[in-house]
Symmetry: C2
Amino acid sequence: MTSLTIAEAAERTGLTAHTLRYYERDGLLLHAVERAPSGHRRYTDDDLRWIEMVTRLRATGMPIRDVRRYAALVRDGDGNESERLALLLAHREVVERQLAEVTSHLRAIDHKIALYENLAPAS
Amino acid sequence: MTSLTIAEAAERTGLTAHTLRYYERDGLLLHAVERAPSGHRRYTDDDLRWIEMVTRLRATGMPIRDVRRYAALVRDGDGNESERLALLLAHREVVERQLAEVTSHLRAIDHKIALYENLAPAS
DNA sequence: CTCGGACTTGGAGTGCACTCCAGGTCAAGG
DNA sequence: CCTTGACCTGGAGTGCACTCCAAGTCCGAG
């Protein structure tokens, strides 16, 4: 229950096993994942929770290198909360700007779609 | 007024001259851009309008290859409007799903931000 | 006539984020 | 004991979308 193989972790997180290893190698996780005596990775619930946060950051467009920076701050423990906050706030800014831009472009595209729909309303 | 150099077109569209040449080479434009006797490109208002549409599609995440397909349809002229419509509608679907996903992830990140803000409300 | 600067080309290079491969280990089932 | 399948590693490969380079052309200013 508190210990999943990489295949299970991949299924739970929606990432591939490849990507999970890649994230670990690249310093996106808080620490190396625990191993079974066989050397196979065993993911805890905490691991999965962190990976979900990473997924959220990535899904909103944060570059790997910034996720790594954030992970480093969290790893370093108490005392840098304001830095973490600043990083997240900066990211939030970027995401909101992007959402606004995409939304406005989408409206323009919708306009184009409406033209085509009016052109052949019966087709 | 109806004839801009590549540098001017770059400035107007927000793309680089490199990217404008690249788009032309890659079949994203409706036809080869006109040339001055010197061989230099001359962009018309129509060119710019089309490039803006391309920019909107790109900015909303449409892959180059799909933009090329759409350009090919428009280039082929009347008779395939329903195909164009289908392509745009499919893209719209994708974009809206993405917007929803990003928005929901952003809400989760906001939640995290709120935690940090409550942690050190005076800092 | 010479220079600087904007343009041209084909093709190579870059950065990002995976994605895969070869060769190996390990535990369980037949 | 042998095979199967899931896992391991370092390092190479992939796809995308640019981005840049070298070598050349053209034009206006001095």
